[in-house]
Structure formats: C-alpha cells, structure tokens
C-alpha cells in the first residue's frame, strides 16, 4: 500500500515472518528469520509476529515463541496440507491489509519465492528478493535490504520508502537463529481461510518428498559438489557417503548433470540453484563462471582437483591438489576415525 507520509507509515507496525511449513512442521529457515526479525523489531520498538499457514500447525506456536516470536498468527486449514500458493497469497494479503505490518520476511525458498510476489503485487508494495543482509536505517526507520545480484557479482542495497509493508525474501543459512528460550511465551491469534480465498483453480494431485536429505541444497550447512572430474555416477556415490558423514547435501556442476550422472535438482550455478552453505566442497569442478555465480557466496570453499590452476582452485579457501578418487575415500576415513 502507498504510505508516502510519516503519518501513513506510522500506521504500520511490527515485523512479520511468514513461516515455511512442510508437512505440518516449521522449517529451520523460519527460526533464522525470527532471529533477524527480533533484531529489526527491537530496533523499531515493535513486535515479532510469525504467520503460520498450514494444516495441523497450531501446536508449533510454542517453539516460535521460544525462538523470538511475540505473536503466532495461525491459519490452520486442511487445504494447506499441500502448497496452494494462490490461496496462501490471498489469505496473507487480507492479513497484511488488516493488521498492517511494517516489515514482512519470508524464506527465499522455492515456495517463498512463489508465494510472496503474489502478495506484494496484490498489496501494492515493494519486494526485495534473496536478501543476505537486513538493517534499519537509524535516520528514518526504513528497512535497508542487501542482496546479491548478477550471480553475486554485485551487492545491492534496496530501500522501499513510500510503500508499506516492506517485504523481503531472505536466503536460508544466512541469518542467525536465537537459542531456544523456553521461558519466552507469546500470544496466539487464529484466523481462518475465507471461502472467497479458496481459488479452486489449482489442484495438487501428488506430492513427492525425497526422504534423501542429500538433495536439499538450500538448507544444507555442508554441500559436497561434484563435476566432470567424477567421471560417472559411481563417483557421486562416493560424494554421497562423504555428505552423509557431515550431514550435508550433494551438489553438481552442469557438466555432471548433463551427463546424466545425477539429477538436475542437484545442479548449482546460473541455470541451477544458487546456494549459500557454510562449507562448499568442490570435487573435480573446474569453476567456470556459470558455476561460480551459484556458489561464490558460500562461507568456506574447499576444492579438490588434480589441476591446481583452475578458477575453482584459485577461489577456494583450501585447495587440495590430487586425485579425488584417492582423496575423498581417505577423507571419509579420516573424518570417521577421529
């Protein structure tokens, strides 16, 4: 909504986090966003509200309070058992118009990135994608949103002065969650999905959840990625063993995906996913620019390659020179031994 005067802006209060809910469970990224929201709300002297859209989710409120929420705004609807973005966007738009939050944060996940743009358009407010930094401008209280663009080649700071709420999606694994404080509590506000908000134009026919944790690149702290140097699908089995040991996910270069060694949802890079894990281990990936733009924001990069001169080996924090077919098994052994 347009809010181009101080008075109009003053009507909008509190920092909202739209929870990421899968199969009735609140996901990790939500706790990270609550940590960030807490800082922002404290700076603004306001509250943190966590909006939970899901089925059978009422029991989750307690955990949200422990992690920094003051209010849990819950819409528990059996229709939300699967992801119907249209209906979720419709109810969110109404809640936003009715409660007037100042800031709305959502995870930059496939679901968050599908859902929030609909709300931002409908509520006529700005939306900054994939933020990695959020702060409050001490001068006027605006939200300053920092995000990588151009595959991480530039960092842009974005402001949205004349519209409220200020909306942003935030990358998983970037913000710090608060430690659970069981002494904290809060209020629950329950809302219901109105019949008019049920769009009915989308039907979810089937949901497949990969029980294999090695596929979730967005949430992973560790990513073990492989490229053409792995020579074939068997090489990826070895990577998976390593990934299991460090509770990580498996990534891949386009060359490995196009060769059919590993499915597309493992692909990192310009035409795959952008990841921001704590550790990225690149095995037999030369590091062409299209791959680097998907992973160069990872905190700590380890490269294993027999050629010490590749772009990946230059970028890496630790470059291990050698044959990955010898190094990776030895690494698995060394980690499990100690």
């Amino acid at each position: 909504m347009i809010a181009n005067t101080t008075e109009a802006r003053a009507e909008y209060r509190n920092v909202w986090v739209v929870a990421e809910v899968l199969a009735g469970e609140v996901q990790q990224v939500t706790y990270e966003l609550l940590g960030s929201a807490r800082d922002l709300a404290d700076a603004r002297g306001s509250e943190v509200w966590c909006v939970v859209l899901g089925s059978g989710v009422s029991s989750q409120a307690e955990a949200l309070f422990h992690r920094g929420a003051d209010v849990a705004l819950v819409v528990d609807d059996p229709g939300f058992v699967s992801f119907v973005d249209e209906d979720q966007a419709a109810v969110l738009e109404r809640l936003v118009r009715c409660h007037k939050p100042e800031i709305v944060l959502c995870g930059a996940t496939t679901r968050g990135r599908a859902l929030i743009p609909r709300v931002a358009v409908a509520a006529n407010c700005g939306l900054t994608a994939d933020c990695t930094g959020l702060s409050i401008d001490p001068e006027n209280g605006d939200l300053l949103q920092t995000r990588p663009a151009f595959g991480g080649n530039i960092l842009a700071t974005i402001r949205c002065s004349d519209h409220r709420p200020q909306m942003a999606t935030v990358r998983p694994r970037v913000m710090n969650e608060l430690e659970a404080d069981t002494a904290r509590s809060g209020r629950v506000i329950s809302e219901t999905l109105q019949p008019a908000e049920r769009n009915g134009h989308k039907q979810i026919l089937k949901v497949f959840r990969d029980s294999d944790n090695s596929v979730n690149l967005a949430d992973a702290r560790f990513i073990i990625a492989g490229g053409r140097g792995l020579k074939g699908p068997d090489g990826f089995k070895m990577l998976k063993d390593l990934a299991e040991q460090v509770h990580g996910a498996v990534g891949a270069s386009r060359a490995a995906v196009d060769s059919g060694w590993v499915p597309y949802y493992h692909q990192v890079g310009q035409t795959g996913q952008t990841v921001q894990s704590t550790v990225y281990v690149a095995c037999g990936i030369s590091g062409q620019i299209q791959h680097l733009v998907g992973m160069q924001s990872c905190d700590f990069v380890i490269a294993i390659d027999k050629n010490p001169d590749t772009p990946m080996m230059q970028l890496a924090d630790v470059a291990v020179v050698g044959d990955l077919f010898e190094i990776i098994p030895a690494l698995i052994k060394e980690i499990s031994a100690t």
């Binding site: 992801f83 931002a120 595959g151 530039i154 470059a319």
Partner: protein, 262 residues
C-alpha cells in the same frame, strides 16, 4: 491455444561488471544475450503448440535492441514477437515490469498460457512470473520441470521443490515459470532464421497497452536501489595442499576442525 512467452535480454555473465564511479551495472557496450531460462520457456511453448496446435508469441520489455531476443525466439519456433519499449518503462522494478507485461498480455487477448523463465540472471529475482499471475489473477506453477497433460481447459505440471516435487493441475489461463530440466531447446534452422529476419516486430508503447503512468517505470516501482558494492572479497589467499594424499587429508581435516566446521 495461445501461449505468450516472456523473454528478457540480459548482459552476458562474462561481462557482468559495475561502474566504479556510478556503482551501477554497466549495460552499455557489453554483450547481451537471451536470458538462458527463457530459452527453455520458448521450447516448452513450442512443444505444446506442436502437440495441440496454436500460436506462440514472444513478448519482451526493454530497449529497442531487445528485438534480437524476440527474433531468436521466432528462429526456434515462436510465431511472432512483440516488444514493449518506451522511455516511460525505464527503471521498472519487478512490480512495474510484471504490471506492464500483464497489461500487454491483456491487450494481446485470448491468452491461455504464459510461460516465463525461472528467473533472469541479472536480477535473479524470480518475481516477475508470479507477479504477472497476480496482476492477472491467474493461477501459477513455478519451477516447473515437466509439463504433462494439457488441453484447452487445464494443464498438469510437475513443480520442483528443495525437498522433492509435486504434480498440480491448473485451470487455464495460467502462468508457468520453468527450470532448465524441462527440455532441451532445439537448434535453430535456416528456415527459422529466415522467418525471423523477415518478420516485422511491433513495438508497443505505454499508451498502447493502456498502462497507468503511475504504475510503470520508476514511478510505479516501490523499490529503489540506493547503493551497489562489489561483494567483500574472499580475503586471504588460498591454502594450497599439495603433499601426499595422507598429508593433504590430515591437513584438511585439521583445518576444518580448527574452524569448528566438523
């Protein structure tokens, strides 16, 4: 079936750089390419046309040189192209871009399906597709990795998520955004090239699509880029481990432990 594919012209990855003075993306005098994800969007549309018949229209908003991406689309099977180009569109963020594209889609009329790329590689936002759907009040499926059954009334898609996928059926008209996995774009033919050369590409201005001047360009954009910086460098030089396998692995594990990574 009338399908609109939204195609964006973007700077090539190798040329991405920022002006040290103005801190803005340098867009002048650099190589521009079709947004890679949009090539999959075009192919998806052309495959649907081949399957059930209809028309594919490539739509772009950008400066006049963006006609080249529309011609590229025609080369690989789009029937025609339309360029939205007007100074008044300059400075559009994703809100204003999706508004302008949605108005153009309404003007085209009788559109059953809009297909976008997952995201554009310059802004990396992935917001324009859902934004168009919201402006039009149409259902959407994002990160589509497979298009299944389709007829005049509905389409079934397989959507990719971090943790798996789902199958959903959308009533048409609808908006899809697609990932690379969906298909293998075809190689242009000589016939296609000739068809593209010959075509006149109409250019629509803001008033042609009946756009509210308050809702386009810088005016219609709630967000403002206030600063751009190069990212903080990765800092210190790499540690290079080039001893024996055993030495390297020991040193690596030690390094990870010291940093509490494992």
């Amino acid at each position: 079936m009338r399908i609109v594919v939204c195609v964006k012209q973007v700077p090539g990855t190798h040329d991405a750089s920022i002006d040290p003075e103005t801190k803005r993306i340098i867009r002048e005098g650099i190589k521009v390419v079709i947004n890679p994800f949009d090539t999959y969007a075009i192919e998806a549309a052309v495959q649907i046309k081949e399957q059930i018949g209809g028309e594919v229209i490539a739509l772009s908003m950008g400066p006049s040189r963006a006609v080249t991406v529309l011609r590229e689309g025609i080369t690989v099977g789009a029937d025609r192209g339309i360029l939205l180009s007007d100074r008044a569109f300059g400075g559009s963020d994703t809100w204003a871009t999706s508004y302008a594209l949605a108005r153009a889609i309404q003007k085209i009329g009788d559109v059953d399906l809009v297909i976008c790329g997952k995201q554009a590689i310059d802004g990396d936002t992935a917001q324009v597709g859902p934004g168009i759907a919201a402006h039009l009040h149409w259902p959407q499926a994002t990160y589509v990795m497979e298009v299944g059954e389709i007829d005049g009334a509905s389409v079934t898609t397989k959507r990719m998520h971090e943790d798996g996928w789902d199958l959903c059926s959308l009533r048409l008209p609808a908006v899809l955004t697609v990932v690379k996995d969906i298909n293998q774009p075809r190689v242009p033919t000589l016939k296609g090239r000739l068809a593209a050369e010959e075509q006149q590409i109409p250019i629509w201005k803001a008033e042609d699509i009946g756009a509210d001047p308050e809702l386009i360009g810088l005016h219609g954009s709630p967000t403002r880029v206030v600063k751009t910086n190069p990212p903080a460098g990765r800092g210190k030089k790499s540690v290079v481990l080039d001893g024996t396998v055993q030495q390297n692995v020991r040193a690596l594990v030690h390094e990870m432990r010291q940093r509490s990574l494992i």
